[in-house]
Subunit: 260 residues, 2 copies
């Protein structure tokens, strides 16, 4: 028999709402919020530590097997009223599945495989871009993402755009990307920085054998000067009047060329 | 001396708000709404017929040259109050530039260059995807987009995501994509349909010389069976647990391979 939480005034529910809404609350608690059958199931399957799982009665009845799987991984699981689900949900049509999970520590960059292909994201600020890039990275077989100065990868928007990939793809966080690039180069990796500058080397002509990192920069300003100073610039040749590709499209083509 | 429209109750302003908000109003009037310095300037530069241009005094003073360019192309131009700008604006921080433009007729598919590279979008429903794909198409040098059953390319969201590309890229609309594909094949074009099915031909192995059309399908359901029946299926090889690439990422990689 599962426990019930039917009041929106319950402390666990109020805390979950805060964790969904605020990066600060996620930082303070070390927890993050997931919504929807798919993401909650992905969290259970990926080995993410699930602190609390919440289901509406309808969700539990309709998707009993999935709910049971999530329960088996969750430290605590509760049935909740529709009113609680409305309070928790960030979508217009809630599926009635919610989890509060524990953030994972960033992996140390020293554990990165110096023969592998990685994407580095510098100051990506749009959570939909961050999520979509990581989803594409996983789909194409990129080994991991190095993040510096990006928006919160644990925000509901990032997690939703990633469709579960952020729960599985190895992520390395750093606040000093130039220092890490120097270390990766010493380990024999090629490090390229993408640029819209047409005088940069065409990405089709850049060697992609062995360990490679490609840096994608901020949506508006591109890669920082201090990173450019350490990397060979590569570019996706463009035509027409479009000033540039958006960051996630440039990242998709870049990763495709790395893995092609 | 420019005319002024300072009242939010003015009929032109009320009509502009409707055109911004509703696909039905855009259909009935044949007009669409653009917001922001860049899109309004792009409309003037691209030869789009500008019916009305609206500027706040601040916008006009700060960007006089751009405003004068837009005025020179607009049939009517007005200075508006900040209250009117707040009423018109769909963004949190309005730049004070607005245009009401005339939709362009779809180009007839018979005018398509049978030696060129084109993207076909079937039932793309997310305006951000539609806009981002067309932006990428223009940047990569794709000659035009064939649209069937897609969301409104004239919605403010589509136009914003396209960053002006939808004002320049040739667009061909059809409500019978299978019939058009048959006609294009008769003209000697290769027509490929993208699929997540790993048994499809790898996109890297599909000949891309001469005239080529690649079809990208709906975000959830992919390309329709009736289109698949007429096309060779091509796929972007995937790894990892991600079930698929999102439609705009798949389109970016597909167009890149067409132009590479």
């Amino acid at each position: 028999m599962m426990n019930r939480l039917d009041s929106v005034a319950n402390e666990k529910i109020k805390s979950a709402v805060k964790i969904a809404a605020s990066s600060k609350a996620r930082k303070e608690t070390g927890l993050f919020f997931l919504e929807g059958l798919r993401l909650c199931r992905d969290s259970a399957l990926s080995g993410t530590a699930v602190r609390y799982a919440f289901f509406t009665d309808r969700a539990y009845e309709r998707f009993t097997q999935d709910a049971a799987l999530i329960c088996s991984k969750a430290r605590e699981a509760y049935l909740v009223s529709e009113a609680v689900a409305d309070k928790l949900s960030l979508t217009q049509t809630s599926q009635g599945f919610f989890c509060i999970c524990e953030k994972e520590k960033s992996e140390p960059l020293s554990s990165l495989d110096s023969e592998g292909k990685y994407i580095a994201l510098e100051n990506i600020q749009d959570p939909s871009n961050l999520g979509a890039i990581c989803r594409t990275a996983e789909a194409l077989g990129i080994k991991g993402a190095i993040l510096c100065g990006c928006c919160d990868r644990y925000s509901p928007k990032s997690q939703r755009a990633a469709m579960g990939s952020l729960l599985r793809l190895p992520v390395f966080e750093t606040d000093d990307l130039p220092r890490e690039i120097e270390a990766l180069k010493k380990r024999g990796m090629k490090v390229y920085a993408t640029s819209p500058d047409s005088s940069a080397r065409k990405i089709t002509e850049a060697p992609m054998d062995g360990g490679v990192v490609c840096v994608i920069g901020n949506e508006g300003n591109g890669v920082s000067e201090s990173v450019f100073a350490l990397c060979e610039r590569v570019t996706i040749p463009m035509q027409g009047n479009a000033e540039s590709l958006n960051a996630s499209m440039a990242a998709a083509i870049t990763m495709w060329e790395m893995m092609r």
